[in-house]
């Protein structure tokens, strides 16, 4: 890894907001700061011809403070990607309805015009996607894919942007960056491609980065490297990070706060340490029991959550998770539990897991 001081000296005047964010991040940890991103009652409904409208996200609310790392965790299909795409304004133009508010520094992104949103994307809010090969344009060199975002948002010329791009590739740990600038995506390894995508996302030093399962498509050893890199970069630059994953193991090493999603709704939220030490929702508990742990006694079996998402009940009249729950009670199938907040925790459950100790 190259050192950060070198890059910030060659690139003057751009780090100021993020230095401020770093301070804010500290303040946030001590309690109290305006959220950078404030999502309220976000709903996304897909209308498909000849089919019932499908509400993929059903009223999701959460905050991201400057410099904070927030996890969105849940099984496949629970609405993680749709949530992130709705925030970015990247859902397909037609066939869906988005409601609620997504306030970024006090501006509701959902009300911005296409042009205004284009000015924000890549500059204030950036995104890293799951599959690094298919997410990079196969027919243009890596260098241009980095410089084009600098040209767009920093008003730099291609020539002026090239050394910055080189610096960025170096900073995300791509060896021989001069050569890699000229290379095409297929000439890079999977890990390097994801590093390149991260370099692209961080090129304009956004205050918010959304990473949608950035390591799922990679080998296990590479996964760990990419996570370490992300962690290092957000700490170094003070960028707030929304980490989307189905893997609680990823969350454990990275996130300050964790939102657990089930069937398009948040079922539990809490500080990472609290949540891991004391999961209250049976779903969170099940997820935790199903991650392999190094410190677990030998021979202890992993317990997967029984059933699948297709067993879900509709949230409107029940707890969607009830059919798969380890401890359902009668009311679980009769009405929807509300998300109740207390002491920095939020929980949507009629019969939470007992607090041990």
């Amino acid at each position: 890894m190259s050192n950060a001081t070198a890059s910030s000296t060659t690139d003057p005047g751009t780090d100021t907001t993020n230095v401020a964010d770093r301070d804010k991040a500290r303040r946030w940890r001590e309690g109290g700061s305006e959220p950078l991103l404030r999502v309220r009652d976000l709903r996304v409904t897909f209308q498909r011809q000849g089919a019932e409208p499908f509400e993929a996200v059903q009223g999701v609310s959460f905050d991201v403070h400057p410099g904070q790392t927030v996890g969105l965790v849940g099984e496949s299909g629970c609405g993680k990607s749709v949530t992130s795409l709705a925030i970015m304004g990247l859902l397909p133009e037609r066939g869906n309805k988005v409601s609620g508010t997504v306030d970024y520094e006090g501006t509701n992104l959902l009300e911005l015009s296409d042009q205004q949103m284009r000015d924000k994307r890549g500059k204030d809010i950036a995104m890293v996607f799951q599959d690094p090969l298919s997410s990079l344009n196969p027919v243009i060199p890596i260098g241009l894919q980095v410089t084009e975002v600098l040209e767009r948002h920093r008003g730099m010329s291609r020539k002026a942007a090239t050394p910055v791009a080189r610096e960025l590739l170096d900073r995300v740990g791509i060896p021989d960056p001069d050569r890699r600038l000229r290379d095409y995506p297929h000439q890079l390894s999977g890990g390097m491609r994801q590093r390149a995508l991260i370099a692209i996302a961080l090129a304009c030093q956004p205050r918010l980065l959304i990473a949608d399962e950035p390591t799922t498509a990679l080998d296990v050893t590479i996964q760990a490297q990419i996570l370490a890199l992300l962690k290092e970069l957000v700490e170094e630059t003070g960028t707030a990070l929304v980490m989307i994953t189905h893997d609680l193991g990823v969350v454990a090493g990275l996130c300050d706060e964790v939102n657990v999603l089930y069937g398009g709704r948040i079922v539990e939220r809490g500080d990472r340490h609290d949540l891991f030490a004391q999961p209250r929702h049976p779903y969170t508990n099940g997820l935790l029991a199903s991650i392999p742990r190094m410190d677990a006694p030998r021979g202890q079996r992993l317990v997967p959550i029984p059933g699948s998402v297709s067993d879900n009940l509709p949230w409107t009249s029940a707890c969607a998770f009830a059919p798969r729950c380890s401890q359902p009670i009668e009311v679980c199938t009769q009405k929807m539990p509300e998300l109740e907040e207390h002491h920095q925790r939020a929980l949507r459950c009629f019969n939470p897991v007992e607090v041990s100790r």
């Binding site: 997410s135 344009n137 027919v139 060199p141 084009e148």
Partner: protein, 336 residues
């Protein structure tokens, strides 16, 4: 890149060898053979034998093929028998080549300049009025026989409305100096701009008729290809970078979508001669297509041979160009 081109050129020679063999066998298998074609069915055995000896037809077949190739390589196809009796077949070919190139050029220009933008916008506004209308338009373009379309255009715009010339490449009252044989270019070189303008007017209707099929095919492939590319993850990445519409369109969508379109354009150029046969007939355009039709009707084998070999060579050459274009656009091809 150079090795790539050399490899393709070697392949091209292979293709031409196979083709010349097929052509040779085809000529040998003509009903009654060359001799009857020339002497007629009722020639005496003596005169047949004399003629066979004269043409070397009494020698082993591989010797005949060797001689055939030798003559072809020297450009010696013999004189035309009926299209323009006595004139060297190759000379006829070169006289008529510019007309067909000019016509094909404008036809492809129309097909590409209309097909690609329309295909792009139809895909971007999928299921819109523009999309539906242009899909129907392209279906008509494919379904309508070129011959009929050419007649229709000629009847309406030349005969009835009198807006454009009925036939030929140049009006009789225009006295133009010939330099290259490309009439539009000749006028520009000699500064006889009215001659260029007149030649252009003669090109409009035949070009439209000839463009109908390539346009329809290029439009449909572009549309399908853009639809595919729009679904790709890298387009979402480009959008997530906040790039302008213009950059996303040119650099990210079209550049990728052009890969299959390039192949299609190549194939369409290769197939253009078939359309030119019909179009040139209707407009008496005096190009290779017309020569092909005439030489076939009148059994002018020397001229036929030249035209068939040339058509094949052009086809192979265009495909080579397509492959090079492909490598230019797609680095994955280049670096393999």
């Amino acid at each position: 890149m150079l090795r790539f081109i050399v490899r393709r050129l070697v392949q091209m020679v292979g293709v031409l060898v196979v083709l010349s063999l097929l052509l040779f066998l085809w000529l040998r298998s003509l009903p009654g053979g060359t001799v009857s074609a020339i002497l007629g069915e009722r020639a005496t055995p003596q005169s047949r034998a004399a003629m066979e000896a004269q043409f070397g037809l009494d020698q082993p077949i591989w010797v005949q093929y060797g001689k055939f190739v030798g003559r072809v390589l020297q450009g010696d196809f013999g004189p035309s028998t009926s299209v323009l009796p006595g004139t060297d077949a190759l000379t006829i070919f070169f006289q008529r080549l510019p007309a067909t190139i000019e016509l094909s050029f404008f036809a492809m220009l129309i097909a590409i300049a209309l097909g690609i933008p329309l295909g792009y916008f139809a895909a971007r506004r999928r299921a819109s009025l523009l999309d539906n209308a242009s899909v129907i338009f392209s279906l008509v373009g494919i379904a309508i026989p070129v011959f009929f379309l050419a007649f229709l255009l000629k009847y309406v715009f030349a005969i009835k409305l009198g807006w454009l010339p009925v036939s030929g490449r140049q009006s009789g009252d225009v006295d133009a100096t010939r330099v290259t044989g490309f009439f539009v270019i000749d006028g520009l070189i000699t500064r006889e701009f009215d001659a260029s303008w007149d030649a252009l007017k003669h090109l409009v209707l035949p070009s439209i008729a000839l463009a109908s099929i390539p346009f329809a095919v290029i439009f449909r492939i572009t549309r399908a290809s853009v639809l595919d590319v729009l679904d790709e993850d890298y387009i979402r990445t480009a959008e997530s970078k906040g790039l302008t519409n213009r950059v996303i369109r040119g650099r990210h969508i079209l550049r990728n979508a052009m890969l299959p379109v390039t192949t299609t354009i190549g194939l369409q150029i290769g197939a253009l001669l078939a359309g030119a046969v019909l179009t040139e007939r209707v407009f008496s355009f005096g190009g290779l297509g017309e020569a092909l039709a005439l030489s076939f009707e009148r059994r002018d084998y020397p001229v036929l041979q030249v035209l068939i070999l040339a058509a094949a060579a052009i086809y192979v050459l265009v495909n080579l160009l397509v492959d090079i274009m492909y490598a230019v656009i797609d680095p994955r091809v280049r670096t393999r």
